[in-house]
Symmetry: C2
DNA sequence: GGCGATACTGATAACGACAATCAACCTCTG
DNA sequence: CAGAGGTTGATTGTCGTTATCAGTATCGCC
């Protein structure tokens, strides 16, 4: 049986009110700062559950940290992520989907999945970097 | 100054004689089993160096482990990786390169880089899975 | 509303991958 | 061949994540 607890709800809400990807530990301190006496282990569990249920996307930062973000459920999509501020735009890539399957089967591969994410500097951060230079 | 040591060479060779991606720790035990008294820290350093110099590609496994593989230097490419046996095929994707930059600039992003990897079952592993089923 | 079963929570310990340390060592140059 | 300094490696430290387990909260049922 699956139960609804305020902790799980708090994690879902904290995720939804965030623009970009967040680390589990970051989300935990955010919640703590917001007054919730939620435990770190619970945040990890809730995030893992949300990711499995398709309510959150996860990716690994270049330091190997797991980052999470709320996403529109039941829809396959990729991300355009600002390297500086973490701002994330969901992008669709039907052409890339097709290409991936094509390349896979051309090499005899089946059951193809893929990892496609684009990193860059968003307009704001790009301007900031230009002035700082 | 950069020096040539048999340790660094051993790591390079062990990488080259491998079909798929290997973990640092896995490579270390392989070398140890082969008789080299090489240290774990050295393997990590050598792999990091090779990755920076472009002689090796690295990616993160879904458990957050860093995996390495020898690659043709000075050439941007992506990978088609067998989920079961680790067999890896280097693939080129000019279309995807173009698409990535296009999507990025369409959203005001600059300095776009991207992560594109395709996972699947290679012909051999696919056949194996079919007979086992 | 009360009750019992049981899924959930959370402080902490354990774990695994990786980075830092530092004395001993080896490689290159002159 | 000798000196300088980059390199090594056993060990320790760090950090993110997971397992543990007793206590707690939630839900179905009466």
């Amino acid at each position: 049986m699956k139960r609804n607890t305020w902790q799980r709800e708090a994690v879902r809400e904290a995720l939804g009110s965030n623009e970009g990807f967040v680390s589990a530990q970051g989300l935990h301190s955010t919640l703590r700062d917001g007054g919730s006496p939620i435990g770190l282990a619970t945040v990890y569990r809730a995030l893992a559950d949300l990711a499995i249920e398709g309510e959150a996307d996860s990716l690994q930062s270049d330091q190997g940290e797991s980052l999470y973000r709320a996403c529109t459920p039941g829809q396959h999509h990729h991300h355009l992520i600002c390297r500086s501020c973490g701002l994330t735009v969901e992008i669709e890539a039907d052409a890339v989907e097709a290409w991936a399957h094509e390349v896979a089967s051309a090499n005899g591969f089946t059951e193809a999945s893929h990892v496609v994410d684009v990193f860059g500097l968003c307009a704001a951060c790009g301007a900031l970097a230009a002035t700082a230079r």
